[in-house]
């Protein structure tokens, strides 16, 4: 880092602006909260008075030339990127802008099937064709892993016309593919390499963590600053490497991003970037230490398996993010989602997500030892009270998709609604996913199989929250007419 990372230009501009006591005859209409006293009561005077519009002293997110521009340059410096864009529509917006920047209708993009729904949304929007690399799968844990290098090579060999390769760095569970090697072969074949780093912000600041996308030479990365980075929910960064045109990417972002960017979100990005640049190394070392401690204690309870580095295999689990507290629960006869529900309902503990065989507790720069003790103690109690035979438990299987039509074509095609049991063999025109983690079970254009229907049925029965289709109860699905 070469710039003065103690600066926070947007925050400083807001502070200056407050002192000017400018009379607002512009939006937002609450006018520093005066028009909405209940909102002031809830959020506090300071917060609502910082909810202001773009103006000369505060710059403009769509076309930044002063303080936002400076904040972007500081962020780029902190993340080791050629440029950084401040995003206020969540990492979904960052991921979508990233995809839309490199592929257009009919062009191919190589990606693992366990991508976030936002990637598939981008493909529906732009009409690009997904080429899936089946992620490797861990039999015991039942979770999708990273991509094997040989599988990526094969996909590139079969699709030399593809424009880009997208990589999860890491997956929700903390698993990383060999990003450096994937970047290298993508570039050798004239393709861009994009990274979904929704769960990897800390890679840029901590030590002994997996390699970050920018350090690995990737061309773009969508970084969820609001997850491990500590900024406000919905704020995010889009990073680009030297091969990308800043102007082109900005144009793509401006197609869909708001023209009323929230200064609460923007200043939170600015302050969090400063915090991580100054204190990130120590802060994430502490998170890793807490997570390692929690793993040791949870594994000592018995019945649970909190996994980490020992899974590394040099390929589809090239690296593991030790800040992630991912725990396998099936061996004691409980689905991850069941443990997730018991923790919330009976112990007042909210964790990030549970799937059929695992749960994830999210540790971050805000965690303390005493809360970790509560989590571990509650898990010990859950085992004592609920442990049962694990026969008949289904683990989360990776189901290889059968892509019949492009996501864009399927989403916009003529369709009909059928009871879900009658959809076997038909082509789905909508998304079905468990949320979280938000990884699609079906995406538009994929053929529905018996295995998929069984999986949806079982996941619903275990209490997974299923989202995506028009019918919120998922008793019916939209399928393509005549296909």
């Amino acid at each position: 880092m070469e710039k003065n990372q103690h600066r926070a230009p947007i925050y400083e501009a807001l502070e200056r602006f407050q002192k000017m006591r400018v009379v607002p005859f512009d939006v937002p209409g609450h006018k520093r909260g005066r028009g909405n006293p209940e909102l002031v009561e809830l959020l506090g005077q300071k917060c609502v008075s910082m909810d202001v519009n773009s103006m000369k002293p505060l710059d403009n997110l769509c076309h930044p030339i002063s303080v936002i521009r400076e904040a972007e340059e500081l962020a780029a410096d902190a993340f080791g990127a050629a440029h950084a864009f401040l995003m206020v529509g969540g990492t979904t917006s960052a991921v979508q802008s990233m995809v839309l920047s490199v592929v257009k209708a009919g062009e191919k993009i190589i990606l693992p099937r366990n991508v976030h729904r936002s990637v598939m949304g981008a493909l529906v929007l732009c009409g690009a064709i997904p080429v899936y690399v089946n992620p490797d799968c861990d039999e015991r844990l039942g979770i999708p892993l990273g991509m094997k290098l040989a599988d990526v090579k094969e996909a590139i060999r079969q699709n030399p016309d593809a424009k880009a390769v997208l990589v999860n760095n890491p997956t929700y569970y903390g698993i990383c593919s060999d990003l450096r090697a994937i970047v290298k072969i993508a570039h050798e074949n004239g393709m861009y390499c994009l990274a979904d780093e929704a769960h990897g912000t800390h890679f840029y600041f901590g030590e002994n963590l997996p390699v970050s996308a920018m350090a690995a030479g990737a061309d773009m990365a969508a970084v969820s600053m609001h997850k491990s980075g500590g900024s406000l929910t919905q704020s995010s960064f889009l990073l680009i490497g030297p091969a990308m045109s800043e102007g082109h990417v900005r144009q793509i972002i401006n197609l869909t991003q708001t023209t009323s960017g929230s200064y609460l979100l923007l200043s939170s990005l600015d302050i969090s970037r400063r915090n991580l640049a100054i204190r990130g190394k120590e802060a994430f070392a502490k998170v890793v230490e807490l997570a390692d401690y929690a793993r040791e204690e949870i594994n000592a309870i018995g019945g649970y398996y909190a996994f980490a580095d020992e899974l590394k295999n040099g390929d589809s689990i090239y690296d593991f993010d030790r800040t992630k507290l991912s725990v396998h629960t099936l061996d004691m006869g409980l689905a991850g989602i069941e443990v997730y529900d018991i923790l919330r309902d009976e112990y007042d503990i909210q964790i990030e997500f549970g799937d059929l065989g695992n749960f994830l507790a999210y540790l971050s720069i805000g965690d303390r030892q005493r809360e970790v003790e509560r989590l571990v103690a509650a898990l010990a109690e859950i085992r004592r009270r609920y442990e049962r035979d694990s026969m008949g438990m289904m683990s989360q299987e990776y189901i290889a998709p059968d892509v019949a039509v492009s996501p864009h074509a399927a989403f916009y095609a003529d369709k009909e609604s059928l009871p879900i049991e009658q959809t076997e063999g038909r082509v789905c025109s909508e998304f079905v996913m468990c949320y979280p983690p938000g990884i699609p079970i079906l995406t538009p254009g994929e053929r529905i199989t018996r295995q998929i229907l069984d999986y949806i049925h079982y996941a619903k029965e275990k209490g997974c929250s299923m989202t995506g289709p028009e019918d919120p109860d998922i008793t019916r699905l939209n399928v393509l007419k005549g296909a």
Binding site: E297, Y347, D348, R374, V376, A377, A378, E381
Partner: protein, 286 residues
């Protein structure tokens, strides 16, 4: 010179005690620790601004939290005490010759050091050979215990700050597991009077009744605690706090107390109507 210690009992009520001088002030890894000397209450211990005990009225709390279960359980040999860095609970327990082992788990060693130096009235028995002090998180310690104590005394601070974990279902569940088949757990149960305290009291009660087959509360009157009306929880796997009270056996021990008597023991379980109502609100339908 006017020198007063004030504690807010609610945002609108405070208790003030005139102070002669401050004997100690320090910040541990967990909390701020202060000791004051006052004309009315003698020395008193304050953690993070909350008064924990005074020399004048600590006997009420410590006698009630120890002698009530000791007069019920016929053969207490192994006791676990959580919290209690001031030593008051240990002092009362050490009066029983037939107790063989007292494990005390206190998260903050600095509280113990300070009390040993400035509050010998309560800390006097901490060096008893039967007492073993573990400086760690109570929630962590108890995870590893199964079927090993006759009596657990939870002498916690308040349900916020470092003591928060001791008011949770995971803690009470682990206490249940750590007790023998006829074990008893007694806990500091907050006050039913002011709204915020009453909510904390109800929440603790709810978590306890979910974890134990039988649980009742008993009361005492402690002048320096918010509202002066204080509750304790009595949770048990086998013995009933009144039917299994053996007055003759306990009185034969000849332990002289200033607050506790076996007659008061019986009365302490008869709580005011509004307290019964608060408790019933969070108990499952029977």
């Amino acid at each position: 010179m006017e020198f007063w210690f004030s504690e807010m009992h609610t945002p609108n009520v405070k208790l003030s005690i005139r102070v002669d001088r401050q004997l100690y002030s320090g910040q541990s890894d967990f909390q701020r620790i202060d000791i004051f000397e006052s004309p009315e209450f003698g020395r008193f211990l304050v953690l993070d601004g909350y008064m924990m005990l005074t020399e004048k009225d600590e006997f009420i709390y410590h006698e009630m939290i120890v002698h009530v279960p000791m007069a019920v359980h016929p053969h207490v040999k192994r006791v676990l005490v959580i919290g209690a860095g001031d030593g008051g609970v240990i002092r009362e327990l050490c009066r029983y010759d037939d107790i063989e082992q007292i494990d005390m788990v206190e998260i903050d060693p600095q509280v113990v050091e300070v009390c040993k130096e400035y509050l010998p009235q309560t800390a006097c028995s901490l060096d008893d050979p039967r007492v073993k002090i573990y400086y760690e998180d109570g929630l962590k310690f108890i995870r590893w215990c199964k079927d090993c104590y006759d009596l657990i005394i939870v002498d916690s601070t308040d349900p916020f700050g470092p003591g928060e974990g001791l008011f949770t279902r995971e803690f009470y569940g682990n206490c249940f597991k750590a007790l023998k088949e006829d074990g008893i757990m007694v806990n500091q149960h907050e006050s039913p009077f002011y709204k915020e305290d009453a909510l904390a009291m109800q929440k603790a009660h709810k978590r306890i009744v979910e974890s134990f087959p039988f649980s009742r509360v008993f009361q005492a009157h402690i002048p320096t605690y918010p509202s002066g009306h204080w509750l304790f929880g009595f949770s048990t796997k086998k013995y009933h706090p009144l039917r299994d009270l053996d007055e003759k056996r306990w009185n034969a021990r000849g332990l002289k107390c200033r607050y506790y008597t076996t007659t008061l023991h019986k009365g302490a379980f008869y709580v005011p109507a509004y307290v019964e109502e608060l408790l019933k609100d969070v108990e499952p339908e029977r």
